[in-house]
Amino acid sequence: MFRKRPPPEEERRVRANDREYNEKFQYASNCIMTSKYNIITFLPVNLFEQFQEVANTYFLFLLILQLIPQISSLSWFTTIVPLALVLSITAVKDATDDYFRHKSDNQVNNRQSQVLIRGSLQNEKWMNVRVGDIIKLENNQFVAADLLLLSSTEPHGLCYIETAELDGETNMKVRQSVSVTSELGDPNNLATFDGEVVCEPPNNKLDRFCGTLYWRDSKYGLTNQNMLLRGCVLRNTEACYGLVIFAGPDTKLMQNSGRTKFKRTSIDRLMNTLVLWIFGFLVCMGVILAVGNAVWEREVGSLFQSYLPWDPPVDNFLFSAFLSFWSYVIILNTVVPISLYVSVEVIRLGHSYFINWDRQMFCSQFNTAAEARTTTLNEELGQVEYIFSDKTGTLTQNIMSFNKCSINGQAYGEVTDPLEPPPKRLDFTPFNPLADPDFCFYDDTLLESVKVGDLHTHEFFRLLSLCHTVMSEEKSEGELVYKAQSPDEGALVTAARNFGFVFRSRTPGTITITEMGRPVTYTLLAILDFNNIRKRMSVIVRNPEGRIRLYCKGADTLLFERLHPCNQELMNITSDHLNEYAADGLRTLALAYRDLSEEEWEAWSESHRCAGKATDCREDRLAAAYEQIEQDMMLLGATAIEDKLQEGVPETIAILSLANIKIWVLTGDKQETAVNIGYSCKMLTDDMTEVFIISGHTVQSVRQELRRARERMIEVSRGRDGGKEGGVEGWEGACYNGNGFGGGQAGATGGGGGGEKQLQCPPPPGTPPPPPPPSPPPPLPPLPPQPPSTLMDNISGEFALVINGHSLAHALEADMEAEFVLTACACKAVICCRVTPLQKALVVELIKKHKKAVTLAIGDGANDVSMIKSAHIGVGISGQEGIQAVLASDYSFSQFRFLQRLLLVHGRWSYLRMCRFLCYFFYKNFAFTMVHFWFGFFCGFSAQTVYDQYFITLYNIVYTSLPVLAMGIFDQDVPEQRSLEYPKLYEPGQLNLLFNKREFFICIAQGIYTSVVLFFVPYAVLSDATQSTGEPLADYQTFAVTTATALVIVVSVQIALDTGFWTVINHVFVWGSLGCYFTIMFAMHSQTLFIIFPNQFHFVGSAQSTLLQPVVWLTIALATVICIVPVLAFRFLKLDLKPQLSDTVRYTQLVRQKKRKPVGRSMGGVRGGVGSVSEGRLGARGSSRRSGYAFAHQEGFGELITSGKNMRLSSLALATFASRHSSSWIDTLRKKKHAHTHTPPSASGECSPAPSYVSGSVPPLSTSSSVLGGSQDTPVEEGTHTPPVQSAQVDPVPSTHTPPPSAPASEAACVDVVSPTSVRCPGGDSPGGWTLSLGMVQEALFGWKGIAARTSGSSSPGPPSVAKETSNTE
């Protein structure tokens, strides 16, 4: 930790096998140290760190003050006991944390790796690996440091790696060594290798490396293609050798892992500010009292010296005032008691445990429960405004399954009736012994069609088995394993395999498949490889009969342009199918073939060869050549692959966005994939007004695109403002008078904002043409960069932004930031694709910087670590392969859908509890402490305390801590189901309504009021009162006991008022605290203790004599009533006149409980509404069609195959093929998955049995019940099912197509009801019917007035009831 950092490196020079030479540069070793302390340094360092906390230092300072007798107004133990407690608790926690860090460091540092030392391979610990060493890696081993690949057992120095831990991409990547070194081969040669590498200094760019190898007087350029980075896993390669370039902390992985940041919640920050204010207040009080002291000592004290002389060091009133100031600082310090911090920690810990214990966030599939890894952020979960989500593994399962297909105009794969029990999975084995047993398909008509021998179907699957770049391995006869470069391809080839067209093996020039049990070998003439522009790939094969055919699969849009004109009709049908698939969020591909004559082939092959040999513009020429042959094709059909979403993703996103949370997806994937997933999880919908795609490569173009997007938004929303007809789309017809709406809800943007705006300016019904009155002046000239942010905040309509990684890089530049934020935040959904891990973090930082909003990042892979760390809250998806994200995260669970529960239930409660806790805590301490202030005026400002010092010590620790802790831990305002039902309940957290400076001042004022009452009522009563035996009651001890008792009772009554959820524990704590107070007081005032320590317990007998007096009790009762009655009246008025949503919900709940009547309508309505959100996806068919060709595909594999480079020599000989490599990577992957996840591998395209998904019991996209989580109200359940049924009845048109397996009939029905309108107006201007229903749901939840009129005309069954309910709720 204290290692001196060498000056920053300019460049790095590494000489292989030469430790002495490399030593000179003092490169970091491969030892990783993440721990902070060791045994000796622990105590000083830890204490040092702890005393950096202002609070701790402050209390230490107080402690020192208390040791000065002239100042000390309290005994030292009143401070040291709590301080020691706090320090030791923290120290123990830190020590434990560090211990585990030590342990994990040790484990990693002691891992073995084989290092080539002096010509022989030796086992060395990772930590002893030095820069310049050559190490040997074996299959499935982790790369120990950043290596330059020297040679590998594979031909051509190739090796395969999986970089999931690094960038989250699970597909394999190829690395190749420089040719000169790849020839070195075995260790003996390598030992003599003495090349020197000169390269860039350590950095965090994962995709870039630049260096030069100098060896034998030649120079060889090195790129990232030659590097194996730490964190990667070697796959499918027997062994390889690498030269260590960067080690330990210099590796790209470590450089990317970022620094630990101590996360604080916004409440924390507010609390710190407030504490500072309170200190200021404390000083003010101290000064006032000190001045008072000065005056008093001069006017009275100096005369009173005959009875009370000044202390020896005090010789004048000024000095006395100075001392008095410090004395008052000591006794008034309880306004910020140290127990505040401890209590806050305890409450957070409690909340964390509740998260850990939540069964509804437990995933039985992975056997993982949710875990709050950081215990200090819980209440911030209730304030989240932005969620940044990773895609792969977070939103999706990264499993592709062949779901549907359309062959020659006939659609297959749709399950007809979702209400019937799901049909049985097809059993392929009797028909095809080579079938993959894990493959699922449900539609037997397709299998029939294959069996019958339908030519089109056969050709369809033949294409799938031929046109791909998959490699196969056959370990034993019939046991095929496919190595697909992208899971999509794997899924397709596996599908073909199961339907009888089994891809067996390939050589550079042939492909062997088993067609319906008959082996056929095709000659592979050419592979027309995939790239991003072409979005298709083709193969040209010659079948055994000698016919040449081109098979092509690719994006429909591109493919349809190249079809033979006679396909028009089929194209239309297929196109319809494709639209359906796309609307279901499936990845689609169109398939086509073309027969080539020998002449055509010859001619083309010549031109192709030329193009291939061209030195300049080779790419372009090749593309042109490809283009030339891929013409006049015959359409075969289309496939639909499902990129399986995690369970409940669309519902979660719907609910979260209803809660006014904005979701951004940041993914390393390609734009197409990302957009596709955006659609399938309902972030993007076809109803969206516009989806802007930013993909400029230069600063200017990005800026322009951003501006254009913004102009467009303003234009559109202005257009809407004008052209709205009453009601129908009114909710979106936002007005610009955003500043006008009050109610503390200003600033709400997005959908919720839309709802509210509506209430401010309802479109005048019956008068269609005139725009709403407050609309802005008509068109301004195209806006220069001046759109005021308020304008942008009130953009209406649903926009989405998709931005590419390279554009994002520009957008994140300093001068573009603001522009980007402005545009992006006006959009409902933002998708950033192709982003690097660091960019993810930058995006998060950007929002943190420009918006005062709480951000949450959720991800599963190592590539998300930086983002997880930089967001206010990081959530890791656990239970999957990687664990790095989890380790960097603050919360972890295994399903994205748990996020709604984490935020809307736990977060909301935490926030609520914390706020209530803080309010009460400040209140009770002000009430307690300020009494001293008032007393100061009557005791000569001498810093005499009102209470017994034991009372002061114990007040915060014992007498009042537990009830408020119980409230802070257990309180609930509304039951958990309700907070999922009414996502709007989440809003107070985002707007910071429950605890802010205003609330704080109210608490303080209440506390001060209480202190006034608590001092002056006893003062007025007791000054003249006497006991019934005649002794006056006005003695100090009686006064102290009376005030203290009144205080304890008042704050107990107050906590009783504040507690909204009285569990047994609350009862025990509240009553227990009161009991405790009396018990302890009597004990302290008992004779026994006095006899032992007469000098410590002055109050002997006070409790008995005081509390036996009726006057004392009358005084206490009076003070309590005076303190509580105004509070009660105010609260009642607030509740009665301006109830919050939570109050209403709570009240409704109460009434419901009382009546016990089956009332499901409110929930039914909401549910129906939410349901329609998810149904909306099937609604308007826009013009967008999303083709999913080989999304995770990489360019260049075709070349590898045809060159034969990636084929082992032996594998060309089919005979030996199967026997080689008992453990291929797929095998291990499978093992691993089985061991950990029980899910079959994705790459092989098997169907994953995500249980509920397949069984159809909870179709994730459909029923609203899954949206709202398991509610236990029976009436609720009734309500749930009504809307779909009704909508089914409404359906006038029998569906032409059968609904998808995951969607119930009702959805499809709804589609038919609505689609006509929406199809008719595909333009961006009209959002279509489903926007309407979505809007109404939002309104129902957000808006409070004036809805019924508009919704009454709606045909949708859900919303009207919502509307009724809502208007009732007002």
């Binding site: 107004s73 509740f354 005791c939 309910e1365």
Partner: protein, 368 residues
């Protein structure tokens, strides 16, 4: 310098089951207990009109009668207060207050006549009251040694330093030490009834039973156990500076001498406020027929030892009867009546507000 939080162990990408030997996959599903699932049965009170408004009325209805009762009781208590500081020229004690010196050996006496307009029926309590006397000053309050007062020999000879500067005098420990003891009130008050026929009858004043039981029997004890010879016990100590006689000569009654002298104990129980009264004597009712203090002329004879002029203090003598709730205390009754009325009034106002503007009715309909 900053520790990176990258945790290297987890490069594996494996979920390592934490803890050695924890290889088996046990079900980690959290327990389904009401506590852990936050489903504890709970009472969820809400401030509704149905609960708040009755509460206001009830408070009002309870407080007003109590207040009236208290007020009446307090009014029935008879109290007489005589300021004998002697600030005015006309005051009989003027001379004494002006000519005070600590060293004078001859006590100054003054006589204050007064007329009792109403007879005091039951036991009458006689108080002395001081004003502007800061018995609650921090340095004053702590300037005592409870060990010493509790009869601890060690502390007797080595008073705590809290007593400074009244811990030692002329190298001898002061007993009792400290500023409180040093400033003990030492006026002597005597009450005479002037018979209608002119005879001066001294009214017997009880000087025992005026201190708290715990003070007398627990907190204050003479050193040396039950040794009746206090002079010997206090050997080696010296009297407080302001005192005229040592502590063992406060009274002749051995039960009321030394530290357990009740006047001393009463003084040592410091007052909470700068204006206070302390019980001085009790005039016991002799028989039920004659009032304790019949109506008529009285004189108060004061041996004026205690100077308060220097700090503008005042001295009073108070005579008072007592009820079940103690002495005269009009504030409590009035406060109760006021608060009760306000509650009642608030209840009415809130009721009206609730009926006119309340939101509850609507939302209650949610369920219908």
């Amino acid at each position: 310098m900053m520790a990176s939080s990258y945790n290297a162990k987890d490069e594996d990408g494996h979920i390592t089951v934490s803890g050695p030997g924890g290889g088996t996959l046990k079900n980690k599903k959290p327990d389904n207990t009401a506590f852990k699932q936050q489903r504890l049965p709970a009472w969820q009170p809400i401030l509704t009109a149905g609960t708040v408004l009755p509460a206001f009325f009830i408070i009002g209805l309870i407080f007003i009668p109590i207040g009236i009762g208290l007020y009446v009781t307090s009014n029935n208590i008879k109290e007489l207060e005589i300021d004998y500081t002697g600030v005015d020229m006309s005051s009989p004690c003027f001379n004494c207050s002006q000519n005070f010196s600590w060293n004078s050996t001859r006590p100054c006496t003054c006589t204050i006549p007064f007329y009792l307009e109403q007879a005091f029926e039951s036991n009458v309590f006689m108080y002395y009251g001081l004003s502007n006397f800061y018995q609650n000053h921090r340095r004053y309050v702590k300037s005592r040694d409870d060990s010493q007062l509790n009869g601890d020999i060690e502390a007797l000879l080595n008073p705590s330093k809290e007593c400074e500067p009244y811990a030692r005098n002329e190298n001898k420990p002061i007993a009792p030490c400290g500023a409180i003891a040093n400033s003990m009130f030492n006026d002597t008050l005597e009450l005479f009834y002037i018979d209608p026929n002119g005879t001066k009858i001294q009214i017997p004043l009880m000087k025992k039973g005026i201190a708290w039981w715990t003070d007398k029997h627990v907190k204050f004890r003479n050193p040396g156990g039950n040794n009746p010879n206090l002079t010997a016990v206090f050997q080696g100590t010296t009297k407080p500076v302001n005192w005229r006689k040592p502590v063992y000569e406060l009274d002749t009654d051995s039960e009321n001498n030394g530290f357990i002298n009740e006047d001393f104990i009463v003084w040592m129980r410091t007052a909470a406020l700068p204006t206070f009264r302390k019980l001085y004597r009790i005039i016991q009712k002799k028989n039920s027929m004659i009032p304790t203090l019949p109506r008529g002329n009285y004189t108060l004879e004061v041996v004026y030892n205690y100077p308060v002029g220097s700090f503008e203090g005042r001295k009073r003598m108070i005579l008072s009867t007592i009820s079940w709730m103690g002495g005269k205390n009009p504030f409590l009754g009035i406060a109760y009546i006021t608060v009760g009325s306000i509650c009642f009034f608030l209840g009415v106002v809130l009721l009206i507000i609730h009926h006119k503007y309340g939101n509850r009715n609507n939302s209650a309909d949610i369920t219908n």
